[in-house]
């Protein structure tokens, strides 16, 4: 082993250690930011070692390095700009976009490793197999993540887009991609076949994500994130780079675990999400809802809610998708601050999938300066509900549905927040319409529940104004 290879290997070992330590520190909010910085340090080490290795090992041309620097400046400044300016409610689609470009980069590296191979002995199978796999996975995640980002952003319709015979078209496209890949392996250096594989894989990425409902999109983003990790690991095999293999495999595993946890919290199987055609996000629900009997519903106003809150000792706020959609995180934090200053104990009960993707609600509340110690996870919150004088549900529905404890319906078995065990409940929501699961929520007709029909942002602002009247500042 040459000195160069030895030093590079050591540097990659250090980088890998920093990645793992960084991820490890992300387990707790107090150390998470440091963890991310440690991981960034690992990235600097890996990149520096690669630059030295590439310069000494093969040298390259001035034009090659110039093209790289120009690319890094263009892509880097675009990425930093978007990252600095993004609104916290739009985080899911930005993560999806960054995932797309990662997959695209992995595919580009594989194409380059194939196209730039000097004529002479053909590529060995240990290199060409990873190349073909990388092109396949990288292209699918590139186009798939772009469509998912479009769905989250609202550029691509959130409803499942299906057409007659779509399954047949999918099978045909996958067959073309696989056949072109296998032929590229068998033939001697046929770039056209690799490009055919790339195009077919890009088309498949689009076809795969289009039929998936907007509400399921975050799970798909997470799955594609895992796949990009694998694509990067394959690229690592193709160019014999251990840093890429290790980091790619780490992300592949991380993304898989996250995907399974998200799907579980939504009470959906990953397979049914991929098969698509469910989870409308914005379309009217198939059952219940529309004709729901309002006679058993007790409505409350901002004034009623304000009095209840002002005289409570323990308040639990249950934020949901409606709050994220209305961008009402600052209002809810202001209301909580007002009550806390008045001596009321206020906590937040956060369901694992509240917001637009798991953990997104925590980010939104953190943006509104809510300390993470006030955000309770599912189990902690459920222990606390029986002691709550009032549970204020803002724009959440299915995650509070007590029917989840009974068998035989769409939410059966889903982990829920036991809001109905609080002493009283107020649900701030625009209408009685059912949530994502498309079923009615008996919580809304519970005698101890008051329904406050309003937009989350407006309703909270009115409540803040009302509380201020009862509670002199």
């Amino acid at each position: 082993m040459s000195t160069l290879a030895f030093v590079t290997g050591l540097a990659y070992l250090l980088a890998a250690t920093l990645f793992v330590v960084g991820l490890h520190r992300m387990r707790a909010p107090a150390t998470a930011r440091r963890g991310n910085l440690v991981s960034a340090g690992g990235m600097v080490v890996a990149v520096a070692a690669t630059v030295v290795f590439a310069l000494v090992d093969s040298g390259g041309t001035l034009w090659g390095w110039l093209a790289l620097v120009l690319g890094l400046i263009a892509g880097g400044s675009y990425g930093v700009l978007r990252a600095r300016r993004v609104k916290m409610t739009d985080i899911p689609q930005l993560v999806s976009l960054f995932n797309a470009v990662g997959g695209g980069a992995a595919a580009a590296v594989a194409v380059a490793a194939f196209a730039l191979h000097p004529s002479g002995p053909p590529l060995s199978a240990t290199v060409s197999i990873p190349i073909v796999l990388d092109v396949l996975i990288g292209s699918v995640t590139f186009s798939g993540s772009l469509i998912a980002a479009g769905k989250l952003q609202g550029i691509v319709p959130g409803r499942p887009l299906t057409f007659r015979g779509s399954r047949l078209v999918n099978i045909t496209v996958v067959t073309i991609a696989l056949a072109a890949g296998v032929l590229a392996l068998l033939s001697t250096h046929n770039l056209a076949l690799l490009m055919a594989e790339l195009v077919a894989a890009l088309v498949f990425g689009v076809l795969m994500v289009l039929p998936i409902g907007g509400a399921d999109a975050p799970v798909v983003v997470s799955l594609l994130n895992a796949l990009t990790g694998l694509a990067v690991a394959m690229a690592g095999f193709a160019v014999d780079n251990q840093a890429m293999i290790i980091a790619g495999a780490l992300v592949g595993a991380a993304g898989t675990v996250l995907t399974l946890q998200m799907a579980q919290a939504m009470n959906r199987s990953v397979m049914s999400i991929i098969l698509g055609g469910f989870g409308t996000g914005d379309a009217p629900a198939p059952t219940g809802g529309q004709g729901q009997d309002l006679t058993n519903v007790r409505t409350v106003t901002a004034d009623d809610l304000a009095i209840q809150l002002a005289y409570a000792q323990h308040v639990m706020i249950v934020p949901g998708y409606g709050l994220a959609a209305a961008q009402a995180q600052h209002e809810v934090a202001e209301l909580a601050k007002l009550l806390t200053d008045h001596g009321v104990d206020v906590k937040y009960a956060i369901h694992p999938v509240a917001g637009r993707m798991p953990g997104h609600m925590n980010v939104l509340l953190a943006e509104a300066n809510v300390p993470y110690t006030e955000m309770l996870q599912l189990d902690e919150a459920n222990d606390a509900f029986p002691n709550c004088d009032i549970a204020l549900v803002v724009g959440a529905n299915d995650v509070t549905n007590p029917d989840a404890r009974k068998p035989g319906n769409a939410v059966s078995g889903m982990p829920i927040l036991d809001v109905d065990r609080a002493r009283s409940v107020v649900v701030l929501k625009r209408s009685m319409s059912p949530g994502y699961a498309g079923i009615t929520n008996p919580l809304f007709t519970d005698p101890k529940t008051g329904m406050f029909f309003a937009d989350a942002k407006q309703g909270l602002s009115d409540t803040i104004a009302a509380v201020k009247e009862y509670v002199p500042a």
Binding site: R33, M43, V47, G102, A253, V257
Partner: protein, 106 residues
Amino acid sequence: MIQTLFGNLAIFVLSLLVGFEVISKIPSTLHTPMMSAANAIHGVVVAGAIITASLAHSPTGYALTFVAGALAAANVFGGYTVTDRMLKMFTRPEPTEDRTHPQSPS
């Protein structure tokens, strides 16, 4: 060649196992920043772009280098920046605030 492959396969499999072990312990509170952080880590594909740059000796090579470099840089710089932005908002309650506003029930 076969030795290299086995070495690489071994670190691939072991890294997968480490990934499963490290990630499965993360609380749901941090899932979004976590996903974003993992996303930033696969920006290591920028190393692939660097290797591509060193192998490029033709206009095709330069074009592929530029594309790979730009896409990878957007991934790695954007990914770390947005993750840091999210995580720096996660704060503890300020002790001073607690003293000025005692939590006693009125």
